[in-house]
Amino acid sequence: MKDVLEELDRRRDAARIGGGQRRIEAQHAKGKLTARERIAVLLDEGSFEEFDMFVQHRATDFGMADQKISGDGVVTGWGTVNGRVIFVFAKDFTVFGGSLSEAHAEKMVKIQDMALKNRAPIIGLFDAGGARIQEGVAALGGYGEVFERNVRASGVIPQISLIMGPCAGGDVYSPAMTDFIFMVRDTSYMYVTGPDVVKTVTNETVTHEQLGGASIHTTKSSIADGAFENDIEALVEMRRLIDLLPSNNQADLPEIECHHDAEAIDKSLDTLIPDNANKPYDMKELILKTLDEGDFFEIQGAHAKNIITGFGRVEGRTVGVVANQPMVLAGVLDSDASRKAARFVRFCDCFNIPILTFVDVPGFLPGTAQEYGGLIKHGAKLLFAYTQATVPKITVITRKAYGGAYDVMASKHIGGDINYAWPTAEIAVMGAKGAAEILYRSDLADPERIAVRIKEYETRFANPFVAAERGYIDEVIFPHSTRRRVARALRLLRNKHMEQPWKKHDNIPL
C-alpha cells in the first residue's frame, strides 16, 4: 500500500514541476510566475484542486511521441476566492510554451463545462505560444471547442481573462469572447499576427509592445479592460473584482458588511459644480463619494476617458456605475465612449447588477471623423443597451443633459427607474447660446439682442424644472443627499421584476 501512495506522490511531484526547474527559472527571469504559482496567488490558500494533472498529448508526428509532459501545458481546476467557488485554467509556458494541443484543449473544455454546469465564474490565465503546430488541425479543432464553450457560457457566468505573457493567433479569440480582459504591463502582449508576419505582409516594423502591449490595448484598441504592474498585483486585483461579481446570472448580488453610513449627507457635493458653466469638475469625486468607502473598480479606465465605467458597492451590494466625465472632452459622447459604456451596461444587465448613471453630457461629438466612423451606430449601441436593460436603473443628472445624449443616458423614457436631477441640471435640446442663435437668426447681427435671447432661453430651459414638470425627472435632489437617495432607490428596486417580450435574441446594432 505504502508504495502505491508513494507512487502517487512521485507522479504528482513530477507533474507539478511542469517543464522542469530550468524552464521555471527562465520564466522567473522574465519577471513572470509559473501557472501553479499564479493560481496559488489568485485563490484562497490551499483551496486549489487540480484536475487532469496527468493528461498528456497523443501526438506522434515530428518526434512528439518522445516528448510527453504531464499536464500538457495547461493547469486546470477549481478553488475559492474569499470562500466563493471559481474555476480556473492557467497556461503553463514551461510546458511546450503553453501551446494548445488536442488534449490541452480537452482539459480547458472540461473545466469550462464544469464552470457552466455549476454556475460559477471562470478565469483564464494566458501565457502561451498559440496552437501546437505539430498537431495541425487537431489543435484548430480544440480551439473551436473552447470558443463554443465561451459563447455558450457568455451571459450565464462571468468569464475573465488575464493575459500574463504572449497570447497570439488562435489564443486571442477565447479571451476576446470573455467578459473582461486584463493584462500585465511589459510582460504580456496580444495580437492575431506577430511582428514577423506583419513585416512580411505589410512591411511594417513593429515591436511586440507596439503591436499588442498593455499600453496599446488599454488605450487605443480598448481590447483590454485594465493593466497591472506585475503578476502579483494583477492577481490580487482580480480577487478584488471577483468579490464584486455575482457567481452567475441567477445568483444574488454579492453583499458584504457596510460601515459607511448611507444616511449621512455630504455637504462638499454642494460645491462640486463650478459657478462657471464652462469649467470642468471631476466626476470621479461624485462616484467615490456615492459608493461605499470610496471603493471603485474601474473598467477601461485608460480608454475613452470621457465616460467612466466601473463597479462599486452601495450598502454593501454591488452596483455598476456609468458616468460622463466633464474633465475629458467635456464628457461628450463619441463612438469610443458609446461602445465602452454599452458593453459595460450589457454586462451589468446580464448579471443583475443595478446600474447607477451620472449624467453631464453636452451631446454627441460632431465632425467627419466621428460620422465616418459610424457614430450613429455606436451611439445606438449605448441607447440599445440601456433601453434593453431590465436591471434597476438609477440616473442622476448633475449638469448638462443636452439633445439626444439626454435620452441615451438612462433617461426616464428608455426605462430609467428612478431619475434624479441636481438643481444645477440643464435638460434641453442644446445649450442656451446655440438654441438662441438658431431661434433668432435675424438677431445674430445684434450682440445685445442675442444676449437677451440667450438669457431668455437660459431662464426657461437651463434648469431641471421644465423636465420635472413633465415627470421626466422624479425628484430634484440636493447634491449633498445623493448617496442617501441612491441607497434608498436601490433598496426600493431590490425586487424589481421586468421581462422583455420573448425573442431568440435581440439585434443590437453591432
Binding site: 519577471g31 502579483i232 462638499s268 471603493d295 467635456a330
Partner: protein, 669 residues
C-alpha cells in the same frame, strides 16, 4: 459693547473672529469677493456683503467698500484680522470719520511703528534693547564701512522700507560692506521705490522671539509672554510655539517690560506684538512692532487662557483691561503648525484646487491635551490662487513641550487632505526632527536641516514597525469582513493565520501573531523584528485614518487605496504596503523592479481641441506646475501644466491649431 461688528478679512482669521464675537453675543458681518462666495466665513457670519472681484486690490483692500458694507449692515465696529487693511493707518482714520470703531490700535500708534527706522528710534528712546547699529540713513559706501567697523562685523545692510528679505545684505568685512551697500540700495529702490538703507549688527544663528502685548484706552499695557517663531522658510513662519525654549524668567521679564515701555511710549491701545531677534546667548534686540493680531496668536491664547480677540473687542469698546500683569501665567506649552497648500516634494510650489477631502483631526481637550484647528475651509472648498495658500493653523497644547509636539505630530498624522498636496508630510516629519525636539532652533533651521529640499523622512525601524502593524491590522479586519461574504461555500472559521509578510515599498517585513480571531475592536500581539507589541484599534474598512495603539503609543496612519495594496503615510513617510502570506511574498520577491517610463520629454494634447495659447517659448526653463499651454475642447479651456522642471526645446503647435489627441504640443530637452 457693540451689537454688531464687521470682519474686514477672509479665511481662517475671519472665522476665528466670528467665533469669539458669537460667544460674546455680538452679531457679525462678513465681506466676500467673487472667489469667496461659498467660503466658510460667509456661511458662519450672520450677514455677508459682496465687495467685488477676487483680486484683493479690488475687494478686501478697498476701504470705501468696507465702509459701505458697514453702513449697509449697521456694523458699529470693524475687526481687520491680519494682512489686508490691518496695518494701514488710513483705514482706522477713514472709519473714525464715519463714526465706526476700529478694533485695533489707534492710527498714530500704527504710524509710529510702521516705518522701520522710525520704530527703532522710538524703541531706542523707550529703553528697548536694539541691535547695535546706525539708525540714520547712510549716504555713501565709505560711510557704510565706517559705521560697520563701529558696530563690529558681521553686519546687515537693510532697506528702510523693506520686508520679506528684499534689499538685505550681510557683510563679514569692509569690502563686502562697500559692495553690499550698493546692491542693497539699488534693490531697495527697485523693490520699494525708496533707496534708503541702514546698517545694523548681524546676529549669527538668530532666533525669532516675540512678545504679545495687550493695551487699553486707559493707558494700561500688559505683556502676555513670548512666542518663538524660529522655524521659518524664506522668512515665512512655519511653526510657532509658546513659550520659547530659550528664555528664562529674567529674560522673559526684561523683554516683556521693555515691550510694555515701548507700547506706552506710543500710546498703544490694543493687541500688538513686539518682535525681537535673539542670540543663542539670550541677548535680544528689537526688530519691529506689529500693530495687529498675529497669525500665531493662538499659542499665546492656549498658554495664558486669554482670548485675544475678545480682549481686542473689549478695549476697542472702551473697557478697561480686567487682567493685570500678575494674572498672566504660563500654563503648559503650545505648538502651532501652519498647514499650507504647498507641495513639499516640489519645493513648496503652491498647490491650488479643490479640497476633495478635508478631514481635520478632532478638536477639543482630552487627557490634558488640547487640539485646536483654526481654519476657513471645509471639504469641497477651493484653495484659490488669489490669496494666501494657508489652509489651517493646527495648534496643540500639553503640559510640556514634548507633550505638545507629540500631540501635534499625532494631530498632523490624522489630518486628511486630498485634491491638493499640502505641506503636512513636511510638518509631521519635522515634529520627529531631533534638533527641533531639543529646542535647538534658529531662523536658519529649515535651510540648514533640509538644504536640498524635502524628499520625505528617512524611514527607521520604529517607523517600519508602525507601518507594518497598521497594514496588517487593516488587512486582518478587511479579511474578516470578506469571510462573511454572501455566497461562500461554507462559513469561514474567522481564524487568522499566524505568519505574514508585509511589503513596505520594496522591503519585505515578516510579522507573526498568536492564533486568534479577527473582530472589531482588534486586539492582537504582533511580533516584528524580535519585538512583540500589543496592538489595539477600532478601525473599520473605509476609514481614511487607521488610529490605534501600538505598544501603548497612539498612532494615526493615513491609508489610501493603491493597486494591489494600500498607500500609507505616517510622520512624513509615505509608502506602498501589501500584506501577504510568506508563500505569496516569496513569489512577490521575484517581481521585476521597473524603471518609471520617461514621459517627460513631450507635452501631448490630452484631447482633440483648439490651442488657445502657448505660455512658454523655446529655450525657456519651466518649473513643475507652471502653465505650458491652454487647449480648448468643447468650449472648455484646459490648462496644461509642466509635470516637472525642465527646459522647452521645441514648440510644435501654435495658437489656433486644431490638434488631435496625443499630438505633440511641445518638446523638452
Amino acid at each position: 459693547m457693540f451689537s454688531k461688528i464687521l470682519i474686514a478679512n477672509r479665511g481662517e482669521i475671519a472665522c476665528r473672529v466670528i467665533k469669539t464675537a458669537r460667544r460674546m453675543g455680538i452679531k457679525t458681518v462678513a465681506v466676500f469677493s467673487d472667489a469667496d462666495r461659498d467660503a466658510l466665513h460667509v456661511e458662519m457670519a450672520d450677514e455677508a456683503v459682496h465687495i467685488g472681484p477676487p483680486q484683493a486690490a479690488q475687494s478686501y483692500l478697498v476701504i470705501d467698500k468696507i465702509i459701505a458694507a458697514c453702513k449697509q449692515t449697521g456694523a458699529e465696529a470693524v475687526h481687520p484680522g491680519y494682512g489686508f487693511l490691518s496695518e494701514r493707518a488710513a483705514f482706522p482714520r477713514a472709519l473714525a470719520a464715519e463714526g465706526i470703531v476700529f478694533i485695533g490700535p489707534n492710527p498714530d500708534a500704527i504710524d509710529a511703528m510702521g516705518d522701520k527706522i522710525q520704530s527703532k528710534i522710538f524703541a531706542d528712546r523707550a529703553g528697548v534693547s536694539t541691535v547695535p547699529g546706525n539708525l540714520g540713513v547712510i549716504e555713501s559706501p565709505e560711510e557704510a564701512v565706517v559705521v560697520a567697523r563701529d558696530i563690529g562685523f558681521p553686519v546687515m545692510i537693510k532697506a528702510s522700507a523693506g520686508g520679506g528679505g528684499k534689499g538685505m545684505r550681510i557683510a563679514w568685512d569692509a569690502s563686502e560692506v562697500a559692495d553690499g551697500f550698493a546692491r542693497a540700495k539699488s534693490e531697495a529702490a527697485s523693490s520699494f521705490g525708496d533707496d534708503r538703507v541702514f546698517i545694523e549688527k548681524f546676529i549669527v544663528n538668530p532666533r525669532h522671539i516675540e512678545i504679545q502685548l495687550l493695551g487699553d484706552k486707559h493707558g494700561n499695557v500688559i505683556y502676555l509672554n513670548e512666542r518663538e517663531c524660529s522655524i521659518q522658510r524664506r522668512n515665512q513662519k512655519v511653526i510657532e510655539e509658546a513659550p520659547s525654549p530659550l528664555l528664562d524668567e529674567a529674560t522673559r521679564r526684561a523683554m516683556g517690560e521693555q515691550s510694555v515701555a515701548l507700547a506706552k511710549a506710543v500710546g498703544y491701545d490694543s493687541a500688538g506684538t513686539v518682535e525681537f531677534v535673539a542670540g543663542q546667548d539670550k541677548s535680544f534686540f528689537f526688530l519691529e512692532m506689529n500693530t495687529r493680531l498675529q497669525v500665531e496668536h493662538p499659542v499665546t491664547e492656549l498658554i495664558t487662557g486669554i482670548d485675544l480677540v475678545e480682549q481686542m473687542i473689549r478695549v476697542a469698546a472702551g473697557e478697561k483691561l480686567s487682567i493685570t500683569q500678575a494674572d498672566v501665567k504660563i500654563d503648559g506649552w503650545a505648538v502651532e503648525s501652519r498647514v499650507y497648500a504647498e507641495d513639499p516634494y516640489r519645493s513648496f510650489l503652491p498647490s491650488t484646487g479643490r479640497l476633495v477631502k478635508y478631514r481635520p483631526p478632532a478638536e477639543g481637550v482630552k487627557d490634558g491635551i488640547t487640539v485646536r484647528n483654526d481654519t476657513g475651509v471645509v471639504e469641497g472648498s477651493e484653495i484659490s490662487m488669489f490669496y494666501d495658500p494657508m489652509i489651517a493653523k493646527l495648534v496643540t497644547h500639553g503640559p510640556t513641550r514634548l507633550a505638545a509636539i507629540d500631540a501635534q505630530a499625532e494631530a498632523l498624522d490624522s489630518f486628511v487632505i486630498d485634491g491638493i498636496q499640502p505641506n503636512i508630510p513636511f510638518l509631521t516629519a519635522l515634529m520627529q526632527h531631533e534638533r527641533w525636539r531639543a529646542g535647538n532652533l534658529s531662523t536658519g533651521f529649515i535651510k540648514e536641516e533640509y538644504p536640498d529640499g524635502f524628499t520625505g523622512r528617512a524611514t527607521d525601524e520604529e517607523t517600519r514597525a508602525v507601518l507594518a502593524i497598521a497594514a496588517l491590522s487593516m488587512d486582518l479586519i478587511r479579511r474578516e469582513r470578506l469571510e462573511h461574504h454572501t455566497g461562500r461555500l461554507r462559513p469561514a472559521s474567522g481564524k487568522w493565520r499566524t505568519d505574514y509578510v508585509v511589503r513596505l515599498d520594496r522591503e519585505h517585513i515578516p510579522v507573526t501573531v498568536p492564533e486568534g480571531y479577527a473582530a472589531v475592536p482588534l486586539e492582537i500581539d504582533v511580533t516584528i523584528a524580535g519585538r512583540t507589541l500589543t496592538v489595539t484599534s477600532e478601525w473599520r474598512p473605509g476609514e481614511p485614518v487607521w488610529i490605534g495603539s501600538v505598544g501603548g503609543d497612539t498612532v494615526a496612519v493615513q491609508a489610501r487605496p493603491a493597486p494591489g495594496g494600500t498607500l500609507l503615510a505616517w510622520r512624513g513617510v509615505t509608502t506602498f504596503s501589501r500584506v501577504m502570506t510568506p508563500e505569496v511574498a516569496a513569489l512577490d520577491a521575484l517581481m521585476p523592479v521597473k524603471q518609471p517610463p520617461d514621459l517627460s520629454k513631450y507635452l501631448l494634447c490630452p484631447m482633440p481641441g483648439l490651442v488657445v495659447s502657448i505660455s512658454v517659448a523655446e529655450g525657456q526653463e519651466v518649473k513643475a506646475g507652471e502653465t505650458l499651454a491652454v487647449v480648448e475642447a468643447m468650449k472648455m479651456e484646459n490648462v496644461l501644466r509642466a509635470e516637472r522642471d525642465g527646459t522647452v526645446s521645441a514648440i510644435k503647435a501654435k495658437p489656433g491649431d486644431s490638434l488631435a489627441v496625443d499630438a505633440v504640443i511641445l518638446e523638452f530637452a
